[in-house]
Amino acid sequence: MKDRDVKRLVIWLLGGVTVIFLLSGFGITAPDLVIPLTLGVFSKSFSYQLHTYLWGPFLILLLLHIYLAQKKTPRH
């Protein structure tokens, strides 16, 4: 896998995790809005569980994203 592919993968994963992290956070504080929005998937207790477990992947991907941004990609 090329460096550029890794960067792209991290960006997409970080984007996805960020959306789920935010959605599950709002699923705790504003379930009336999030439950219908997610067709009942993000119930309050599910949101809580998810939010509790997502801090690690979110932080690791964010730091990895910063790390990869520091790495110079050769330009052709």
Binding site: S45, G56, I60, L63
Partner: protein, 229 residues
Amino acid sequence: MDFKRTLLLVIIIAVAVVYIADISGLLIKPGVPVANTSRLLAAAEVRNYQGEKLSSVTDFRENSIKGPQHVNMSNYRLQIGGLVTTPRSLTYNEVKVLPGYQKVVTLHCVEGWDATILWEGVKVSDLINTAGARPDANTVIFYAYDGYSTSLPLDYIENNDILLAYGMNNVTLPEDRGYPFQLVAEDKWGYKWIKWVTKIELSNDPSYRGYWEQRGYSIGGDTNRSFFT
């Protein structure tokens, strides 16, 4: 490899290690003793009541204002005062001789988690009746050993047979769950479920603000409404 990138790599590894420790339960949450009484009592508790699945006494997050309290029972008294005809001061055993009731009630925390427990205790209205509420009383203020307080309308207490629990899931209320007494404020957010109760005061001030109410949480605390005022 330059310094900045090395540092980032070290931080990433450290975060990963902390995360793995956290999800595998190796991290001890602040304020929670390792050998807490809930864990010891969990082996004896019931997990099913009349076909209803119950949560465990260990399924609670510790979020009290000063951590679990150890109440000295040799001089513990439950005070009942304020707008009453005869202020009372009851020992733990004097409270327990009142008629006992059991109820399955779910605690909903503002943080998002909940726990369904078989609670056992005495009716708060029975306790108030031992002191005799004065006609102008309309609010019940509860005080705890750690300085926490909250209030509920007297009508709500009387009409819903609200319990002051001394047991959960057929075991004695564990110390970290509020021993000797925790209020079972059904249909109210968790911050109304005061633990380590030491005093019940009747008042005519429905706008009394307890610990979290002073910090922006609603006085009503109904679970079907937002907990913010």
